[in-house]
Structures are given as structure tokens and as C-alpha cells.
Symmetry: C2
Subunit: 543 residues, 2 copies
């Protein structure tokens, strides 16, 4: 009798500990969401002279957030609940929350404050230098900053090497960190490991390099054969219809119509204009995306918005009642990117999508599109050409840009590639992989902000996103009995419902790879992506 | 020698205490500024479904702010510096900061947490009830809530009655609180006291009631004599030209042009659209005002913006280096309102102002203004008619609405007026003072949100603002040798420079009454306000 009472009391106590833990992390999440709004405002509406005070506000909130999320009480509470019944069922929401909080807490507490501060200083400075180094295509001025950052990231990786072992929940399976790359990668894509990625990406490269060359060649031949006397009597190649004049007010109306039609809920979100498009979750019911409009670039805003809408749909699909806990949070950068790329490419560049939307686009943009057919337009939005700049790359060649960065950043971290040799290594990889060579480092190894911001292990999540997207889309298409018919009728609710059910609502309940395997009934594989390209470009060019 | 060292050490230590004090209050101010941005966003751009999370964010920030601003360390630091050399010169910035921080700290620490929470609950609930009570003109449903609030405000006043005495700096002169109204009033208008206001407002009433009647009668006679067949062949009274069609995009361009011309710096601020116009200081370099546009009400947006611009100019004129300390903060609600009313009325409704702007207005609104003369337009924007609703009242009758509320809220607090008798007392006062009677309580005692929000002692600051404004404007006009010529040339920098020098840059360095006396070389007096009306309406109607 007495032992039963004790055991029950103990159970109650553990439940209290769990509640206390949730309350602490909720406060930290609400603070972070205040920063999210301030950050959004900084990019959208803040008057120019408000910048200094804004950085004071963000610094204070970041400090308070750090204090809350490294509160030693979190460690005590985790210790207390990790050997309790609360997480006995490892598939339970509670167990998943505890597992993910432990993961984050160990990361944060394993890093000495001196290192965190040194990284903050180094990356803040390096990003400023990067802006001017890129502007003058001057790698030499950036080099010492990159060297410092790489040294500090190695130190970070070394501090985190055994972070997975600091837990009582030894029953939660996690592959150990082996490579210096692993703990960095794991920050963005929990559970992902260097060795597995090397294998996955090798398979992708083997299929993609020849396919990309084949498609590029077909596109080139096709374009040469199809140049036509178009708009204003200028000779135009097929894809250049997208650089005719698209009045910005009309672009805005059209893309908002499409965003709403695919399911972005404007009662729970907004679309605004910024220099660099992004999606930010301010909180449940408040998901904001941004874009930029160029009157002579239809694709920039249109596909940019569809991309951010994909991110936004994921955020809008998270469980609002789980806000502030891992279960209410996106699982990884890769899965986030899968949602944006799925809507941007698998949906937004499909023939079926434009079967419905192209007639409407012609009504909204009569000047630009009166002499263009659906087939021409569909080909134009799927134009492929090997290029130098990642963010401008098409769906086919995009991942080749990532494979190059993946190899280079691993070599930089291990020391196999000295920073001084980065420009020549970069240029050699571009020649070998894409057949193009940068004329200077601004369009070469200085083009991305990531490394200056200390983001090592981030690039591969873009390619993971593309692979996840293709695999998820193929499965949804099979489960729902063919999406083309629905798209051609302007119906997207079926696909969105499938993604909500299989991806969005789970938050961090499963690891990214487990989530994908659970949703598609097969482990991650690069072939659905290759197949999707073969199918589309086969139809377009008969290859 | 040894005593000198000690004294020097002691001095250094005290300076450290002062710095520590400033650092704590700066953090509290930065936190409050985060809330300001979240509040602004809530009114402007937040998607509807973001409301629940926004209230969670604001509640957390308010809690953190309260924690910081009631930190007992503030009390220790104040004790330490209050008898030190740092504030030896009572006119020094340091002495003013210490005086004001003591004032705030004593207020906050004198109020028991239970009372603060009870007031927060009661006013939150009462505001919700007020919305529906006003909608159905049902005072009975609001009455018990108002009774609760009055009981709690009496309790608050009683807690604060001796708050001024908790300081070592007995050398800082402050009139004691005598009436229950004093500590409440002092929250909005530091140093203002019930007894002095009664005297001031009695003088105002004696002159204003007959003058308002005289002007209203002159306006009525003039309007009857001047009805003319105007726009679209409708018979129009002179002031109804302001309700013709003013396209909203043109209103926006015109009012932004005027706002910039009078000195509102759009690099350090914004103008957006909200249901209820306001001005909010997010921080130095970031002052935001809002308005609403009605296509058939030129005055709403135009004078609304000039009003908020006046608030905004004050905020933009505060010393950015003093942000977070009392010296960098507006001195009182009354002085804030003086700035808005000065630009709205003394500037924006003057003949000289429209001498410059009316020709431009005619170009921007050719349809509405092609058959209107400068004199007709100037008369229209100075239309006077006794009315029921305070926020729609003209410059002449506005203060009569305030005098009524001032008397009633004091009687409610002392208990001389039972809440149940408020509607009849309200209606009797309106009949007696303005000659109009509400047909129901929605256009009577339920029209304002203030009492439901616990804002007792707030209304008189509106009239103080109007009196300050007239006195400041008269003095600036004398100092600068006649502002009419400058206004007629579209020049406003002279007036703004005078206000910056004599009002804005001082923050809370002087009490409101000392500030006004210092700027105008005379104590506050209601006569400059009366004289400004006599002059304007004398010119308009020969009275």
C-alpha cells in the first residue's frame, strides 16, 4: 500500500517536472517569437534610422532568450523526467519533447560562453567584410576571416563531439558523431551524418551530372530551333517571354490569388515586399512571407512566392497547441526546404498546374502573354542552363551547386583544403561539374553569405530538401491517385491535406529520416528526384 | 589625505551606482520598446488569427518589464545616490533622472501586487463589457464594472497618498497629495494637483462658455446666409465642402507632403493606416504615426495626421542619447497633447497655413475644390457647432467636453456622485454647458473608453494640452517675430526649432509647469487660449 502511494506521488511529481519544463521552454519560445517579429519589421517597414535601436532590442531579447534556454533548471528537470514513466512510451509526444529538449540543451551547454561569443563576433565581422569583398571580388580580404571562422567551427564541433552521450535516455537511438562535420550538420538536420550523405550524394551525382548535360543540350537545341519573332518584333528565345513586361500591381494580385488557392491562409499570414525573400513564423496564426517584384522578371516573384508559400504552409500546418515545444516546431531545415521546393517545382512548374493557371495568367497579363501558348509557357518556366550562381539555378542543375559546396566545406573543415586554395578549387569544381567557370570570385566562392555567417553543414539541407520533396510528391501522387487531374482543375487541397497529415502536424516527433520513411514507406533515395526530371523533360523534349 | 581619498573613492562608487541605475532602466526601456513595436504591429499589419499569440507575447514582455522596473536593486541604488554629490546640482540632468526614477519607483513599489492584478483584471473585463454596453446603449450592464474600477482606483490613490515622502531627496520640492484625485492625476501630469486645476478650469469655463455660444451663433448665422448651390447642384453649407469626394490615394499623398513639410522626418518614422489613429515611439529614429482615410471626410485624415505629427515631432525631438532615462522621455500627457494640438489647430487651422497650402490642395483635389475660395475653405476647417461627441468636437467647444468629464470623474471618485446617477448627471451637464442632450448613453456617458480602462485623471490633460499649446504658440510667435509670414511661405522650421529648443529636448528635466513657465516666461494661464479664439473668430465673423 505504502509503496503504491509513493509510486503514485512520484509519478505526480514527475508530471509536475514535465509541466515546469514545458513552461520554461514556452517562455523561451515566446521571447524568440518577439525577436522574429522585430526581425520581420526590420526587413519590411522599419524606417532607416531605426536600425541602431533595433539592434539594441534584438541583442537584449537574444540575451534573455539565451538565459532562459540555458537555465540549469532545464538540466535538472530533464534528469528528473528522463528515467520516469512519462517517457516510457518512446513514441509518445512527451518522449519526443524530452528527447529534443535534451538534444538542444546539451548542444547549448556544451559550448563554452567564450566560444559562443568569439563566434558571434567573428561571424558578425566576417559578414560585413564579405559584403565588401564580394562587391570588389576580392577574396584576399575575406580569407583571414574565413580562416578564423573555420578554426572556431572546428572547435565547436570538437566541443559537441560527445554531446549525444550526456543523457539518461540511453534508450533513444542516435548514431554517434564520427566526422568533424557531423555535429555541425546535426544542428540543421538532426540525425543526418556525413558518411550517409556522402553515399547518398555520390548516387545522385552519378545520375544527375549526365542527365543535366543531356537536358541542357536538348533545351539549347530546342531554343535555337524555336526562336521566334515575338513581342515588339524582337527576336526572342522561348524562355524570354518571362522577361517581358509584367506590371507589378498585377503580379501582386496574381501571385496572391495563387498563394491563397494552394492553401496559404491570409487570415493567419501576410505577404510583403523585402530585398531578400523569406518566411518567418511569428507564432501560431501569424506566418509571414515576403518577396520582391521586378517588372521584367515574372519568375522572380512568382516562383519566389510559391517557394515561401511552401515554407509558410508547413508553419501553418504545425500544431498550434504544441507551440513552444519541439512537437510544435519544424523538424529540420531539409524538411522545411522540401515543402518549399515541392510547391515551387513539383507543383508550380508542372504542366497540370499551368493547365489551370495559364488561361488566368493570360487574362491578368494580356500584353505579355497574348501570343504565348500553354506549351511555350510551360517550357519557359522549365528552362535549363548550367550557370554560375546557385540562387538563380534551375531545378535540374541546382543540386550540382550544392554538391560542390558540400565537398568544399568538408575539405575546409578537415583541413584538406587550405582556405587560400578555395578559389581555385571552386573554379575547378564548376568547370568539371557544370562546364562553366567564374570570371571572378564574386560569381565564384564569394557568392553565398553562408560561410561568412558560420553556417557549415547548412548547404546539404537544400539538396536533402529537393530529394525529400520528390519522394514525398511521388508518394502523395500515388496515394491520391494522380494529382495532375486535380491541379488541372485548380484543386490543391488534396495534396495539402496529405502533407499536413504526413509531415506538418508531426513537428519534431520523428527524426527527419524517420518522418520521410514513415510518410513514403521507403528510406530516403535520390531516384524519385531523378525520375521526376526524366519524366518532365522527357515530355518536354523527348529525351 | 586619507579622508580625501575616501571621499574620492566614495564619489567614484556613487558614480558607479548611478551608471548601474541607468543600465537597469535602459534595459527596462528597451523591453518596453519591444512591446511598443508589437503593439503597433497589432494595430497595423498583424493577421487576424495572430491575436491570441500576440497577447501572450505582450503579457510575457510586460511581466519581464515589471520585474526589471521593480527590481529592489533600483531602490538600493536610488538610496545610495540620493544623498551624494551626483545630484548636488538639482538642475543637473543626473538630479532630474534620479528625481523621476524615484517618483516612478515609489509609485510602482507602493502598489501591492494584488491590487495591480485586480485592476488589470477589472479593466480588461470592463473594456470588453464597455464595447457591448456602448453598442446597445445599455449603461446598466456597464455600471457594476465601473463601480468596481472606482473602488480599486480609490484604493490605488490611498496606497499612493504618501508615495512622495519615500525619498531621501527631501530637497526636491513637490506639492503633497491632498485630494484622492491627486495621485491619479500625478501619474499623467507630474506635479499637477486637483486644487490648482479647479481654479484654472473655473477661469477657463467663465470665459469659454459665453464665447463658445457667441461663436456658435455667429457661425450659424453665417452659414444660413451663405448657403450656396455648390457641387453637383446640391445645396451646401459652407463647411460641407469638406465632405465632397477626396480620393484616398490623393489624400495620402497630400497629407504626407504636408507632414514632411512641417518637419516630420520619414527617415525616422512612418505613417500607416489603423482603425484608431495613434503615435508610438518604437525607439530613437523610429517614431510611427497612423491615421484612417474616409473618401468623404477630408478633415478626418488631414487634421488627424497633423495631430499625430505633432506628437511625432515631440518624440523625434527627444534626445536620442538620453533614450531609456527620464531625460529622454516625454514629460507628461498634457505637454504631449500640447504639441499635437499646436500643429493641428494653431498651425493647421490658421489662415496663413492655408494661404500656402490651399492652392496646392486645389491642384491635388481639383474636383472637390475648383469652386471653393481660400476664405471659404479656411472658414470650413474652423466650423464650430456644439455637439455630443468629444472626439468630433471643434477647437472651441472641445474643452467644454473635458470640463464636464473632469467634474464628473472627481465626484465619482469622492463618492459625491454614485455611479448609478452618472447618466443623468452627464446629460444635465451637457444641457447646461453645451445646450445639447444625448438621446442615449452611447452618445452620452458611454462614449469614451477611458473610465473602462481605469484612466481617471487622464481627461484634464487634454485641456492642459490645449492651454499649453496656446501659451507656447503665442510666445513662439512673439519670439520669432510673427509666424504668419513664414507659414504663408510654407516655412515651419522656425517654429519647430523653437519647440525643439524650449520643449522637446528637455524630456523630463523640468516638471510640466516649470517647463511651460520657463518656455513662456509666465505661469500657466487660460487667457492665451481664449485670446487665440477671439482673434481667429473675430477675423472670420467680426465678433
Amino acid at each position: 500500500m505504502s509503496s503504491e502511494v509513493n509510486s503514485e506521488n512520484n509519478s505526480c511529481l514527475k508530471a509536475d517536472f514535465y509541466q515546469e519544463l514545458m513552461a520554461i521552454v514556452d517562455e523561451a519560445a515566446v521571447l524568440a517569437s518577439c525577436s522574429a517579429l522585430l526581425g520581420w519589421d526590420e526587413q519590411t517597414f522599419m524606417p532607416p534610422e531605426g536600425a541602431v535601436h533595433r539592434s539594441n532590442q534584438l541583442a537584449l531579447l537574444a540575451g534573455l532568450h539565451h538565459e532562459k534556454s540555458t537555465n540549469p533548471r532545464i538540466g535538472e528537470l530533464l534528469d528528473a523526467v528522463e528515467d520516469s514513466r512519462i517517457i516510457h512510451d518512446q513514441a509518445s509526444p512527451e518522449a519526443a519533447n524530452v528527447r529534443e529538449l535534451r538534444r538542444l540543451y546539451n548542444r547549448q551547454t556544451r559550448l563554452p560562453r567564450t566560444l559562443v561569443e568569439a563566434l558571434a563576433r567573428a561571424t558578425s565581422l566576417a559578414q560585413q567584410v564579405w559584403v565588401s569583398s564580394r562587391a570588389s571580388a576580392d577574396f584576399a580580404s575575406f580569407r583571414p576571416h574565413l580562416e578564423t571562422i573555420i578554426r572556431l567551427k572546428r572547435e565547436e564541433a570538437s566541443c559537441l563531439m560527445h554531446a549525444l552521450e550526456d543523457s539518461k535516455s540511453s534508450h533513444i537511438p542516435q548514431s554517434p558523431f564520427v566526422s568533424v562535420y557531423d555535429p555541425l550538420l546535426d544542428d540543421y538536420e538532426p540525425g543526418a551524418r556525413n558518411a550517409a550523405l556522402v553515399t547518398l550524394f555520390e548516387g545522385l551525382r552519378k545520375d544527375l551530372v549526365p542527365l543535366a548535360a543531356e537536358i541542357s543540350e536538348a533545351v539549347r537545341r530546342h531554343a535555337n530551333g524555336k526562336s521566334f519573332r515575338g513581342h515588339q518584333d524582337r527576336t526572342e528565345s522561348p524562355h524570354s517571354v518571362l522577361t517581358r513586361e509584367y506590371p507589378i500591381d498585377r503580379q501582386r494580385v496574381f501571385v496572391e490569388m495563387v498563394a491563397a488557392a494552394v492553401g496559404f491562409d491570409f487570415r493567419r499570414g501576410r505577404l510583403d515586399v523585402t530585398a531578400h525573400p523569406f518566411c518567418t513564423g511569428v507564432g501560431p496564426g501569424d506566418i509571414r512571407i515576403t518577396t520582391r517584384y521586378d517588372v521584367r522578371q515574372f519568375s522572380d516573384a512568382f516562383f519566389g512566392v510559391l517557394h515561401e508559400v511552401g515554407h509558410g504552409l508547413y508553419e501553418q500546418g504545425l500544431d498550434p497547441d504544441r507551440f513552444g515545444t519541439p512537437l510544435g516546431d519544424a523538424v529540420s531545415l531539409g524538411v522545411h526546404e522540401s515543402q518549399s521546393r515541392l510547391w515551387e517545382n513539383a507543383v508550380g512548374r508542372s504542366k497540370a498546374f499551368w493547365t489551370y493557371w495559364f488561361p488566368l495568367a493570360r487574362q491578368v497579363f494580356p500584353q505579355a502573354l497574348h501570343d504565348v501558348t500553354l506549351d511555350q509557357f510551360h517550357a519557359a518556366v522549365n528552362h535549363v542552363v548550367p550557370s554560375l550562381i546557385r540562387v538563380q539555378a534551375d531545378e535540374v542543375t541546382y543540386n550540382l551547386h550544392i554538391l560542390i559546396r558540400f565537398e568544399l566545406e568538408r575539405a575546409l573543415l578537415t583541413g584538406d583544403l587550405p582556405v587560400a586554395d578555395l578559389p581555385s578549387a571552386w573554379n575547378a569544381k564548376y568547370r568539371e561539374t557544370l562546364g562553366v567557370v567564374p570570371s571572378n570570385d564574386a560569381e565564384g566562392c564569394l557568392q553565398d553569405i553562408h560561410w561568412s555567417a558560420g553556417l557549415f553543414g547548412y548547404f546539404p539541407t537544400y539538396t536533402l530538401g529537393n530529394l525529400y520533396a520528390a519522394q514525398l510528391f511521388a508518394r502523395a501522387d500515388a496515394d491520391l491517385g494522380g494529382l495532375d487531374l486535380a491541379f488541372a482543375r485548380g484543386e490543391f487541397a488534396g495534396l495539402l491535406g496529405w502533407l499536413r497529415e504526413n509531415v506538418h502536424r508531426h513537428g519534431k516527433r520523428y527524426s527527419p529520416s524517420a518522418l520521410i520513411e514513415r510518410a513514403t514507406a521507403t528510406p530516403l533515395d535520390h531516384r524519385p528526384f531523378i525520375e521526376s526530371l526524366r519524366r518532365k523533360y522527357g515530355e518536354l523534349y523527348g529525351i
